[in-house]
Every structure is written in structure tokens, then in C-alpha cells.
């Protein structure tokens, strides 16, 4: 140990010796001039991320009370505005739970990657909450969700088929983000985040435009980012599947009036099991059996596709591209000249590239397998039959926005009698009942 220390000291003193050699030695001033001191402004206070983590927890607890106990959308709106202001505009959206996926992945891949407590907290806390109380994070604590929630004025329904197809995107995006972060190809969620440039009021025209587009879109379509893009939502969905509590639309008993079904802008309220099935039960079971049987095949196709994609995708890797440029004698390339200037032997780079190529190949194959699994899973999910007796929100997709409460006649009744909650005068429906459903006779 002492030896190592001495060597280090010698090494550094050697460096100092070299460092003190300059073309123009500092003059010895006779006028008594003293050089100014270099200003080193510090980053935002170190405790700020911890404060943000604490506030995240607080907001989620309050949202829990607002959703389950007080059943009040008004209080929730206050929380939403706070989250948008604090986590969004004040903290400028960084670090957020969505981006933290990549930090956690990078830390798993590289033991030297620094993962601070606030970042880990932002990743884990919403998931733990979802495990017990559903997606309260989406409900009010996420600034992206908050922005979309606030601008939703005239919700339109996304056709069921399109909706199911678009819902394939988030898990694939999650897979890609994990792959990129794991292989050290960068943080794609952060690079392509449409909201963060809005929060900062600055950014590239493209990202600002994308942000503006999504905000305008979310006037008409509820939470387009959350439903069809957000990769963190996939994890929350999985956690919410086990949740102990979920939003119950009615405070006591369901009278099956179907009003809530129209109230939900995200279209996640599952109607009860119908009395009559349009097809015999065994046909559905049969189909699921078939789908289960071909699932390994779909995953295998995914692995093959990943294997084939791995090679062209090496162009995304800066180190591999660098080696290629060096081999091609592309000295004009800035990265090449910068690399050659460091004096690192090309052989070292070649060894690193070899390791990276292997890692990338495995990564892409896993990503292919994941994609296959998602597609097979969505096919099976589409064939499942529902079992619920009452109108209930789909616990995995419900984002706890509390909109449906105000539509339930039972809630209104209890409210008028003053037995529960402080729910306001019922909000009027901004939804026109769908003719097809409304006419369904009894």
C-alpha cells in the first residue's frame, strides 16, 4: 500500500514537473500586479435532488389520499399543478423517473457508473407505490403526465384496434432504451424527450416542435405520451398488476349505469362480463392454446431479427465507427485525429471494439426476444376473456386521474346527502355519449 502511495506521489510530482514547463513563463511583475482568481460557480445545491425526492414521496402520499380517501379531483388538480411547476419547470425535468431507467441499467452494466440515491429513489419509489396503491405517480407526481392532464379539454376516443396496436410501442421503446443504456450507446429516452425542452424553454427546433405537437395532441387525446410512448409506464403497469388497492368508481355498489365508461378519457374502464358471449367459450380457449403454442416461434423469429440487426447497428457505436474510420485511413475525421493525438495504441481500441461487438450482438438478440415476447403477449391478452361483475378500471392502465368519480350516480347521491367526501358539484360531462353504446337496449 505504501509502495503504491509513493509511486502515485512520484507520478504526480513528475506530472507537475512537466506541467510547469511552458513556452512563456509567467512574468514576474514589478508593478505589484496580482492575477485574479478564477471563479468557479457551483452547481445547484447538493441537497436539491434529495428535497425533490422527499417532495416526490409527499406528493404521492397526498395523491393517494386524494384518490382513495377524499375522492377529490380538486385536491388532485392542486397537486398536479404543483408537480408541473416544481418537477417540471423548476427542476427542468431532470432527473425524472422515466430517465432513471437508463441510469439504473447503466449502473448494472458498469460497476463504475455513479448511481446517486436520488436517482435510485426516483426509479424505485413510484414502482413500490404502484405495487401497493396503483399508478399514483402517473396520477399527479409526474410532470409530463401533469402537463398532458391539464391541457386535456375535449377528449376523443382512440379506436380500440389502433389503441391496442399503439400500445405495443412502450414496451419496445423500453427494450430499446435498456439495450442502448446497457451497451453504452447513450440515453435515448433523454435525447428524445419531447417535454424537457418545453420545461427548459430551450432546445432544438425539432424537440420543441415535438413537444408542442404532443401538447396540442393531448388537448384531444388523453395522455398520448403516457399511453403510447412512456417506457416507464410499462414497469408501472407491471407493478400495478399486483396492486392492493385500485380506483373503485363507485363508493358503494355499482348500478351498471355505464356513465363512468364514457367519463374515462383513457378508455380503461372494463365493462362487466356480458350475459351472452358472442362466441362459444371453447373457441376462445382453443385460440389461446394455439397462441401459446406458437409463442416460442415468435420469440425465435425475434432473436433472429435481433441477430441480423446487430451488425448494421454497430454504426451507432462511436468506438466501432472510430476504429472503422481509422482502418479506412480517414484522418480528416475529427474523432480519428483526436484519438490519434492521445497516443493510445490502435490495438487497445481494437480489443475494446471486439468486446463491444460481442456485447452488442447479445444485447440485440435479447432485444429481439423481448420484442417477440411482447407481440405474442399482446395477442394472448387480446384473446383473454374478462371476468369482472362490475364496471371497474383496468388496474394496469388506470392512471388514477379521478375523473370517473364525478360521473357515478351513487357518488352524486351520497355527496348530496353529505355522507362522504368533499367532492364538488359534479363536473359536467365533456364527453358526448357514444351513440352505439347509449342505444343498447335493456
Amino acid at each position: 500500500m505504501t509502495k503504491l502511495f509513493i509511486i502515485t506521489v512520484l507520478f504526480f510530482s513528475g506530472m507537475l514537473l512537466i506541467a510547469t514547463e511552458f513556452r512563456f513563463p509567467k512574468p514576474e511583475f514589478t508593478s505589484g500586479y496580482e492575477s485574479p482568481i478564477l471563479q468557479q460557480p457551483l452547481p445547484t445545491a447538493e441537497w436539491m435532488p434529495y428535497l425533490a425526492l422527499g417532495l416526490l414521496l409527499l406528493v404521492m402520499i397526498l395523491t393517494g389520499y386524494a384518490v382513495y380517501k377524499w375522492r377529490s379531483r380538486r385536491i388532485q388538480t392542486v397537486l398536479i399543478v404543483f408537480s408541473l411547476a416544481f418537477f417540471g419547470f423548476f427542476r427542468e425535468g431532470c432527473v425524472c423517473a422515466i430517465g432513471s431507467i437508463q441510469n439504473v441499467t447503466a449502473a448494472l452494466a458498469d460497476a463504475g457508473f455513479a448511481l446517486s440515491l436520488p436517482v435510485l429513489g426516483f426509479f424505485v419509489l413510484p414502482l413500490l407505490t404502484a405495487l401497493f396503491f396503483g399508478r399514483l405517480f402517473c396520477g399527479a407526481a409526474c410532470p409530463m403526465g401533469a402537463l398532458q392532464e391539464l391541457v386535456l379539454v375535449r377528449p376523443l376516443r382512440v379506436p380500440k384496434t389502433l389503441d391496442r396496436v399503439l400500445r405495443l410501442i412502450p414496451p419496445l421503446y423500453l427494450g430499446a432504451a435498456v439495450l442502448f443504456a446497457f451497451c453504452g450507446l447513450g440515453f435515448i429516452i433523454c435525447s428524445w424527450d419531447p417535454f424537457v425542452s418545453l420545461f427548459r424553454l430551450s432546445g432544438s427546433v425539432f424537440m420543441l416542435g415535438a413537444g408542442g405537437f404532443i401538447v396540442i395532441l393531448s388537448i384531444f387525446i388523453a395522455r398520448p405520451y403516457c399511453r403510447y410512448i412512456c417506457p416507464y409506464g410499462v414497469l408501472l403497469k407491471a407493478a400495478a398488476f399486483f396492486s392492493a388497492r385500485q380506483v373503485s368508481i363507485t363508493p358503494d355498489e355499482c348500478i351498471k349505469c355505464r356513465l363512468c365508461e364514457q367519463a374515462c378519457p383513457s378508455d380503461v374502464i372494463i365493462p362487466p362480463r356480458p350475459r351472452k358471449y358472442s362466441e362459444p367459450g371453447f373457441a376462445a380457449v382453443h385460440r389461446i392454446q394455439w397462441l401459446l403454442a406458437i409463442t416460442p416461434g415468435i420469440i425465435a423469429i425475434g432473436i433472429i431479427a435481433g441477430y441480423l440487426l446487430a451488425k448494421p447497428a454497430t454504426a451507432l457505436d462511436s468506438q466501432i465507427t472510430l476504429l472503422r474510420n481509422i482502418k479506412a485511413g480517414n484522418v480528416e475525421n475529427e474523432a480519428v485525429s483526436a484519438f490519434l493525438a492521445t497516443g493510445t495504441p490502435v490495438k487497445d481500441l481494437a480489443i475494446r471494439v471486439q468486446q463491444r461487438k460481442y456485447k452488442l450482438k447479445i444485447g440485440w438478440m435479447l432485444f429481439g426476444a423481448w420484442s417477440g415476447l411482447i407481440i405474442a403477449g399482446s395477442l394472448i391478452a387480446a384473446s383473454r376473456r374478462r371476468r369482472n361483475q362490475d364496471f371497474i378500471p383496468d388496474r394496469m392502465n388506470c392512471v388514477c386521474c379521478s375523473r370517473c368519480y364525478a360521473y357515478c350516480p351513487r357518488e352524486l347521491k351520497i355527496n348530496k346527502n353529505g355522507t362522504t367526501g368533499n367532492s364538488p358539484e359534479p363536473q359536467a360531462s365533456r364527453l358526448q355519449p357514444r351513440p352505439g353504446n347509449a342505444v343498447g337496449g335493456c
Binding site: 482502418k327 479506412a328 359536467a428
Partner: protein, 563 residues
């Protein structure tokens, strides 16, 4: 709330919301335009101003251009900074308007009429799943096919095995390098010119076989170097330091390049001794570029057409006589021994770019000697002399391989290399031989007369020394024993060269001695006259010899018989 009041409120809020939306659109459009404008005038990417500035430095008296630059500079900067401020304000305006719109929406929502359709009941049927399944399956299939298409399209031309182009290599071959005279005292700077015959039949005062003679514009004690048909010398005084390129066959001055405008070059010139001057360091060439160093610490690299490739100031030397170590080139490196009172450096640069490859900070005493290159056991070494030691370094890495503290006094001579021995001799020190593999002294002899400027040369087992006092000596390179000595009229500043199997050395008066190496006695073959004082070492070619006198540059060679 009363119905009329609610209606009035709704109307007002609606108007406010509409106006806000229009306002936001206008602000957004202005901001986008501003942004595009800002990208265009970004000072970082602007090329007009720099090009105008370059134009002005070529034409310094153009006051119209000067005013134009000043105005344009101010205009651009003003536009850039105000544009930025406007963008920031625009962002805040948009945010504020968004807030107003949000409040308007909330108010509209709160005051909206209740429109709950209470007529509904249970009548749900299980929908058909077929359409959904087909859509999902098609999407999944589409994704896979897309992935395969991407894989196949980008696979072409992306195969690493197809790219097997090696790193760019230099055009100059070792043979060409050794056939030329690229540095002080020849290709390895050791005073040995293999593979050519010394031309000995000349006499300059009488014009016998004198091909040409020119006066060098500025004075310098540096020696000429020759590459094919080009000859380079340097000259300098207090006013300017220059490189001259001559046609080696005709003596025509092809170009001259002034080592000026180098950032870091001192305004106040360092003091130099009269017999050193500003251009004592011999330039060197790698066959594509010529490198020259001057007493100001300026190091310039110029291509064969006279255009500057790179330049730098190595730091103004603190040198009581003036910087005089000559440069050494290998086919791809430039080696500079840069010693002064404060620091002793050995530097290697990439010839093409001037990038420093390695730097060796040594602890030694300043010397005026020049580095030489030797090859032992397949490894290239650089051997340098300082006022206390002889040192060997690895050419590739700069790593110090050995050091022998056998020198003293003021060392200006350089080493030579023959028969696997590094041979050195300097006044007030010793004559010695060193084994560069083990880094051991083989012998030392301090009982003979020693040179203080002229470097030794060796042939076989004989080492020849010519002193400033005019004594020629031959020492047994194996044992260090003096074989013979011979007194001549004048002293030598010029270093002897072994060309083929003859030695040429020119004394201070300008008499060239052509000597046949012999272990028994001083065997003078003939003498030729230069006619003026000679300090520089001549450059031998095939049946040619280029000699630099203190003022003139001469080329001697077989004259074509004119009918």
C-alpha cells in the same frame, strides 16, 4: 351561480381564450423565425468576418475594408445578443399565455352545463376479437419484416472485413532517404555518407569545375542539406530569419521563406554570439518538407513549394552563445535537441502535423551539440551529448536507454557511430567509445588534443579527429590508443565527412583536405581551395559537392565539356 352570469362569464372566458390562442400562435411564429435567423448569424459559424479579416491582413492599408469589418462585427454581435434576449422573452410570454389558457379552460369546465345521460343500462356483448388479433399480428409481422429489411439494406458495405485499407503511409522510402543528404552530417547525422564517391577534382578561386556560386542573402553558420534537385540553407540576422531553397543543379534561388508571424516568437530577440548567429542550426528535410530552427526558438516546417505547413515557438532559449543544435529527421519524425540554461529537452514531432510525439525532460547541462541516429539490435536510438554526459534514447518512445557521465567543459561536437561503437571527443573532456547496447564505456583517452567544434568521424577501426588548433589525429577505435598525429597550418570548425572511402575536411582558411584513411600515417591525397572561410559542413552528392562558405554557396562537379 345564475344562468345569465354563467353565460356572461363563459362568453368572456371564451373570448379571452381565443385571443390567447391567437397571441400564442403569433409569438410562436415570431420565435421560430427568430430562431432560424439566429442560427444563420451565429458568430460561431460565421465565415464572412474571418475571411474579411484574412483579407485585411493581406492588404493592411485598406481602410475601407477595416471600417467595413468593424461595422459588420458590431452589427452581427448586436443581432445575436438581442435575438437571444428576444427568444428568452418569447419563451416566457408563451409560458404565461399557456397559464392564462389553462385558467380559462378550468373556468369553462367548471361552468359547463351538466350533460349526463342517465338513460343507459347493461347490454354489453362480447365483441368479436378477430379484427384486433389480425391487426396485432400484422403489426408484429410488419415489425419483423421491417427489421429484416433494415438489416439487409445496411449490411451492404458495412462489413468490417471489406475495409482493409492500412493506415496512410509515407511515400519516402528508406533508400531514397539514404541516397539524399537530409540532415547535418548526412542521413544519420554521423558524418558518414555511404554509397557515393567523393568528387575531388576542383579549385574554386581558379573556377576549375566550379558549377555555380551564389551569395546567400542572410548570413548563417548552418550547413546545406540537399534532396534530389533542391538545396536548402538557412540564414538570419536581427531583422529576419529565413530558409532559402536553391536549385541544386543551377544555383537558382527558387524561393525564400521568412520565419515570421509565429505566435510566441519573442519581440525582443535573444542575445547571440557573433560566431553563432541566428541561424547556426542546420535545417533538415524528410523528402516532403523542410524544417528549420532559429536562435529565437522558432521552429518552422515548410513544404517543397515554400508554403508553411506548421510552425511553433519552442520557448525563447536562454543560451549564452545562441541556439545551435541541428535538427534530425527520420522518414517520419523530427527530432530536436532543445537545451538551454533552464531546461534540457529532447523532442520528437510528427513531421506532417507538428504534433509532439514525445518529450523528454532531462537533467543535464546545456550543450551546443546535435543528435545523431544509430541502429543497434534492430532498434533505433538517438544519441546526444551534453556538457556532462552522453545519452541514448529510444527513437519511438523517447525512453532513456543509457547515460554515461564522461563529458565536461562546453560541448559543441556531436558523436559518430562505427563498428557498433558510439565515438565521442570534445575539448576539456575526453575521447571515448561507448557500447550503446550495454551503455558501457569501452575506453577513454584524455591525453590527446581534442576538438571543440569539429565532430569526429570513423572508418573501420580508425577514429579521426581534427582540432581547432589544426591538429589531425587518428585513434584506434577499439582501444583508444593514439595511432598518429599531424600538425596542419590552420584549425578546423568544419566537421570531417567520410564519403565513400575518403575523408574530406575543410580548414578555417578554406583549404579542403582529401585524406585517405590509414592507420599508420597521415595520407593526404590532395588539397582543394575554397577561397573563403568555411565553417559549415559540405553536402556531398554523386560527383557533386555543395560547400557553404561564410558568404557564398558553391557547387563543384564535373563540368560538361563544351565544344
Amino acid at each position: 351561480m345564475k344562468t345569465e352570469n354563467r353565460k356572461l362569464l363563459r362568453q368572456t372566458v371564451t373570448i379571452v381564450a381565443k385571443v390567447t390562442v391567437v397571441f400564442m400562435i403569433i409569438v410562436a411564429v415570431i420565435m421560430v423565425m427568430q430562431y432560424i435567423q439566429l442560427k444563420k448569424i451565429s458568430p460561431e459559424s460565421s465565415t464572412l468576418l474571418p475571411s474579411l479579416r484574412t483579407e485585411l491582413s493581406a492588404d493592411r492599408k485598406n481602410d475601407v475594408l477595416r471600417t467595413q469589418i468593424r461595422e459588420l462585427d458590431l452589427l452581427t454581435r448586436r443581432a445575436w445578443f438581442t435575438g437571444q434576449n428576444q427568444l428568452r422573452t418569447g419563451g416566457l410570454l408563451l409560458l404565461g399565455a399557456g397559464g392564462v389558457l389553462l385558467v380559462a379552460f378550468i373556468l369553462l369546465g367548471l361552468t359547463a352545463k351538466k350533460r349526463v345521460d342517465e338513460k343507459s343500462c347493461l347490454g354489453v356483448t362480447e365483441p368479436k376479437r378477430t379484427g384486433l388479433l389480425i391487426a396485432l399480428a400484422l403489426t408484429g409481422g410488419g415489425l419483423f419484416i421491417g427489421a429484416l429489411a433494415v438489416a439487409f439494406i445496411y449490411d451492404i458495405g458495412n462489413d468490417d472485413k471489406k475495409i482493409a485499407v492500412p493506415l496512410p503511409e509515407r511515400k519516402v522510402s528508406a533508400e531514397e532517404f539514404y541516397a539524399n543528404w537530409p540532415c547535418f552530417r548526412g542521413p544519420d547525422a554521423s558524418g558518414i555518407a555511404p554509397g557515393r564517391k567523393l568528387f575531388t577534382d576542383w579549385d574554386i578561386p581558379s573556377g576549375h569545375n566550379l558549377l555555380w556560386k551564389v551569395k546567400v542573402p542572410r548570413q548563417g553558420y548552418s550547413s546545406p542539406v540537399v534532396w534530389n534537385d533542391k538545396l536548402f540553407v538557412t540564414g538570419g540576422d536581427k531583422k529576419e530569419r529565413e530558409i532559402y531553397c536553391y536549385n541544386a543543379n543551377s544555383g537558382e534561388l527558387l524561393w525564400r521563406h521568412s520565419a515570421s508571424g509565429i505566435s510566441g516568437s519573442p519581440v525582443k530577440l535573444p542575445k547571440v554570439a557573433d560566431d553563432t548567429g541566428f541561424a547556426a542550426s542546420t535545417p533538415a528535410t524528410d523528402g516532403q518538407r523542410i524544417f528549420a530552427a532559429f536562435a529565437t526558438g522558432d521552429l518552422v516546417c515548410v513544404d517543397f513549394a515554400g508554403n508553411r505547413v506548421w510552425s511553433k515557438n519552442l520557448g525563447v532559449p536562454e543560451n549564452p552563445y545562441g541556439y545551435s543544435s541541428s535538427l534530425l529527421t527520420t522518414p517520419d519524425k523530427l527530432i530536436v535537441q532543445y537545451d538551454d540554461e533552464r531546461r534540457q529537452l529532447l523532442l520528437a514531432f510528427d513531421s506532417a502535423t507538428g504534433r509532439e510525439l514525445w518529450r523528454k525532460q532531462r537533467k543535464a547541462v546545456i550543450a551546443w551539440s546535435s543528435p545523431i541516429k544509430i541502429e543497434v539490435t534492430g532498434r533505433n536510438q538517438i544519441v546526444i551529448l551534453t556538457c556532462e554526459s552522453v545519452e541514448g534514447f529510444d527513437l519511438e518512445t523517447g525512453e532513456q536507454l543509457w547515460r554515461e557521465d564522461c563529458m565536461s567543459g562546453e560541448v559543441a561536437t556531436s558523436a559518430t557511430f562505427a563498428g557498433g561503437r558510439v565515438l565521442v571527443a570534445n575539448d576539456n573532456a575526453v575521447a571515448a567509445a561507448i557500447d550503446p547496447i550495454k551503455g558501457e564505456i569501452l575506453w577513454e583517452n584524455d591525453e590527446i588534443d581534442l576538438p571543440d567544434v569539429s565532430s569526429p568521424v570513423a572508418f573501420g577501426n580508425m577514429m579521426f579527429i581534427f582540432t581547432s588548433g589544426g591538429i589531425a589525429e587518428c585513434v584506434n577505435a577499439q582501444t583508444g590508443e593514439l595511432l598518429w598525429e599531424h600538425e596542419l597550418e590552420d584549425g578546423f570548425y568544419n566537421s570531417p565527412l567520410l564519403v565513400g572511402d575518403r575523408i574530406i575536411v575543410i580548414d578555417k582558411k578554406g583549404i579542403a583536405f582529401i585524406i585517405k584513411p590509414d592507420a599508420k600515417k597521415f595520407m593526404l591525397e590532395r588539397t582543394c581551395k575554397v577561397g573563403e572561410m568555411v565553417v559549415a559542413t559540405p553536402a556531398p552528392g554523386n560527383n557533386r559537392l555543395w560547400i557553404r562558405g561564410v558568404q557564398y554557396l558553391y557547387c563543384v562537379g564535373k563540368k560538361e565539356q563544351t565544344p
